[in-house]
Amino acid sequence: MELLCSLIIGALVAASVYCILRRSIIKFVIGIAFLGQAVNLLVFTVGGLNQGAPPIIPADAKTIIGSYADPLPQALVLTAIVISFGLLVFTLALAQRATKAVGTDDLEAFRKTDS
């Protein structure tokens, strides 16, 4: 399972890098979306993937013996998903306005504010 997740993360990052390096602004936004997904999956995976092992301490014990599904990475990922979703929507809106302001969605034309 970890191996599969690692491969998916790798593929997502590769796709996102490819998209980010394209010249079109909308492809850049798609690349950022991929990157967000890849990172979320990574945080989820490094927490350890354990099936059917809820983090509940048995009534007659003081601690869990053996491995369990760690709830914290899931909580972290949930927060990160919400944040990346909000930022993505903002970026999309900004990309639309920026495209209108510059007159093209070619990032080569975004050079006026550089020095």
Partner: protein
Amino acid sequence: MNSLQIILPVITPIAGASIALLLPQKAKIQAAIGIATFIATCLAALSLLITTNEYGYVKLELGGWQSPFGISFVADRFAAIMTMVSAFLGLSISIYATGDLTSTLLKRWYYPLTLFLVAAVNGAFLTADLFNLYVWFEIMLIASFALMTAGGSKSQFEGGFKYVAINLIASAFFLVGLGLLYGKMGTLNMADVALKLSVSPGGPMVNSSAVFFLVAFAIKAGLFPFFFWLPASYHTPPISISALFAGLLTKVGVYALIRTNTLIFTQEADFLRGALIVLSLATMITGVLGAAAQYDIKRILSFHIISQIGYMTLGLALFTQTAIAAAIFYTIHHIIVKTNLFLIAGIIIKKTGTDQLGKIGGLYKASPWLALLFFIPAFSLGGIPPLSGFWAKFALVKEGLEQEYYWSIVIALVVGVMTLFSMTKIWGEAFWKKSPDNAKPMKRLKHKWSLYTPVVAFSIITAAIGLYSQPLFHFSNQAAAQIMSPDSYIEFALPPEYVEHIRSLDNISIETPIAAHSTKTATNQ
């Protein structure tokens, strides 16, 4: 010491922003709420600073969850003084904005957004949890995105997009570093991570996280080679916004670098420190050269932010108590001086109607007081004694000589001279040169009081730090002493029995997440 005080500099601006969003959107009402909230925030930050100075540390465990399980806030002297400076900066700029911004901006979003921004910056300074730091960074980002594009001019959308793009990538790097660190250590409480690493060095496993953090914070701080977003975007929004960014945002990156590299990643630090020295020197040189090529006031000042950041990280890279103290002193001095220069540039642009140095002239004759007000921060930035910048550079150079980093010192001094060159360029062009023939007649300023009050206040502070630098230096030194003894931070932030338990384990296996987790659960009794 446990205290609710620590949360006030974060809660107050959030409350003020919420109220401002609810109340009628009229410029006067919004400005009144904004300024009143910033005054309250300043008082909260001041009381925190006084308490921290007295007790050394202040902490708060949110929701009563004991560290390392809950999210906690810990203030040491460094965090407290940064909070104080950011609150004061917010107050000054909120006064300046009443005279600078158009009423559409003032009516609607300016004050809530700046309040959220300052709240997030304070949260980032005070939090003791890495994931919480990430969340504050994101709040800061979204507020700064909105401010960066507020007003909606063409160049703002263009520059804003670059700013947004690079910051999203930086956030992704930060989150990857966080995720990997959690996988290895099973915790994200800064003190807990530091404690576990001190018992069992993670080696190359932890260095990967350290480098991810370094890249993420270097992008935010504007270190070489990640700074290109800064001069491409900081000159586009109105001055009240870019001054706030120039003063505050990059310094949050510097703060995060100092915090993580002195508290957490101290075991295998030589490797990172070598990289940091090279990055700092390259940052100084490229920043100052970029500034030398510009003839637009805002762009010159933007490039100087970059070159000055190099000095702060050089202080971190030298990694002795005096060097860190110099870095802290430098950061505080820089926030005050740089914001002031942006505000003065705003006045110059308002008066002359342009930011191109070629089209400006004769300001010395037209307004000698403005010339004096510019003189103080500009030559402080260049490092002319007895202004504050001189002492900041002096401390850094002295420590560099003692540590025998001669090349770094040579570069730092040369960059100082070139900074002075840039400042004299602005001085010569805008103030001493005769007004060019095709220049527009100078306008009379409408809101003199609100524009000049913050500038005068900042200039007085700069001169005061310069002439009487001992108290601030003493404070920076104490703050650096705290930073250089991470054990005292760990012992303060975590319960003593927990620290003892972890230290009694002679080797925590941190190769697999499961092992790290079970040590965590084992102590949860």
